[in-house]
């Protein structure tokens, strides 16, 4: 029995086959949640936005034209959703900060120094990624975290592959510069 491709599943979904859509969800949900979590720098929004992305994909199924780019299409939906959400949050942040109490800071269990350093590095990289400008952050997460090839990223962003390469290069140099103080041990 051959495994149906994304496009075949999408075509079945367009005909109202929910089981096919369920297969699509199962196939891509982890990658999408992982992508959103790293793009946002937060786990809490990733799952909800991933669900919303799948809902929108389902609604778009009847009008979807198969060009072999389902994954960029789905991830573009998710990217746009997250971008809109972050914009809305940025708008309300100033007002919300006046009324919202700071979230409780969980006290981490003591860890061996090596593990502690490793965890600290992960946290620091996550923060540094979240600080990157959007146009650099999206290709970097897709390439470095999701391991997407250049043409697929270009399809998602709607630009040329050369532009993707240039943005990736810039993103990495920005990230290296941002992490230098941590990496060199001269962290304030």
């Amino acid at each position: 029995m051959t495994i149906p491709t994304d496009e075949e599943l999408m075509a079945q979904t367009a005909r109202g086959d929910r089981a096919a859509f369920g297969c699509l969800i199962d196939r891509h949900k982890d990658a999408l949640v992982n992508y959103l979590a790293h793009l946002a720098g937060r786990r809490d929004v990733a799952e909800d936005l991933a669900q919303e992305s799948f809902l929108r994909l389902f609604r778009a199924a009847p009008g979807y034209r198969d060009e072999g780019r389902l994954l960029p299409f789905l991830f573009r939906i998710a990217t746009n959703l997250l971008r809109s959400k972050l914009r809305r949050e940025r708008g309300w942040r100033a007002l919300g900060a006046m009324f919202q109490a700071a979230p409780p800071n969980p006290t981490p269990a003591p860890l061996p120094s090596e593990l502690l350093l490793q965890q600290e590095l992960r946290t620091e990289i996550g923060r540094a990624i979240a600080r990157l400008p959007w146009r650099f952050r999206v290709p970097l997460v897709l390439a470095a975290v999701e391991d997407w090839p250049g043409p697929r990223i270009a399809a998602l962003l709607g630009c040329k592959e050369g532009t993707v390469k240039s943005r990736l290069h810039r993103a990495r140099s920005l990230l290296r510069r941002d992490l230098a103080h941590f990496w060199n041990g001269d962290r304030p």
């Binding site: 969800i25 979590a37 470095a144 975290v145 992490l179």
Partner: protein, 149 residues
């Protein structure tokens, strides 16, 4: 920090996974959420444009209101002036008619309370210069006229 170290750091990043009930939740939302629940971006833009136009209209209306009031006051004044002018013209016409109708007279002389009146040509040639109309006729003088004489 080298490229290799950065790549290693990326590889070390934790991979997030969807929760256990993820697919079921999406399916439930598919059944529960009507398609039209969320307005499309076109509708949002249309609403925004309508609100923008309304705001512009209100601003223009408020900005023009004093000018409109001044214009109304000016029109009212013009109407009043026009009405007064018409009244004056009517009064003038009435007076002119009286003047034309009134027979110009020349008081010749008289006794205590009787004078003699003669139509006054006033240096003009009367249109109907009937010699008979120039005949003096006696009139009874009012006390004020008597005193004048």
């Amino acid at each position: 920090m080298s490229d290799e170290e950065l790549d290693l750091a990326f590889e070390d990043l934790p991979r997030e996974k969807a929760g256990p009930g993820f697919s079921a939740q999406v399916m439930a939302r598919l059944d529960g959420q009507p398609r039209a629940a969320e307005p499309s971006w076109r509708l949002r833009w249309a609403t925004l444009c309508a609100l923008g136009l309304l705001a512009i209209g209100l601003v223009i209306a408020f900005a023009l209101e004093p000018r409109r009031e001044a214009e109304m006051a000016r029109r009212r004044q013009l109407q009043e002036i026009s009405r007064a002018r018409m009244d004056l013209e009517a009064e003038l016409a009435r007076i002119k008619a009286q003047v034309v109708e009134a027979e110009p007279v020349l008081l010749l002389d008289g006794r205590d309370d009787i004078g003699f009146l003669l139509p006054d040509p006033g240096g003009r040639e009367l249109p109907d210069a009937d010699p008979g109309s120039l005949r003096p006729r006696p009139v009874r003088l009012m006390p004020a006229a008597q005193e004048a004489f």
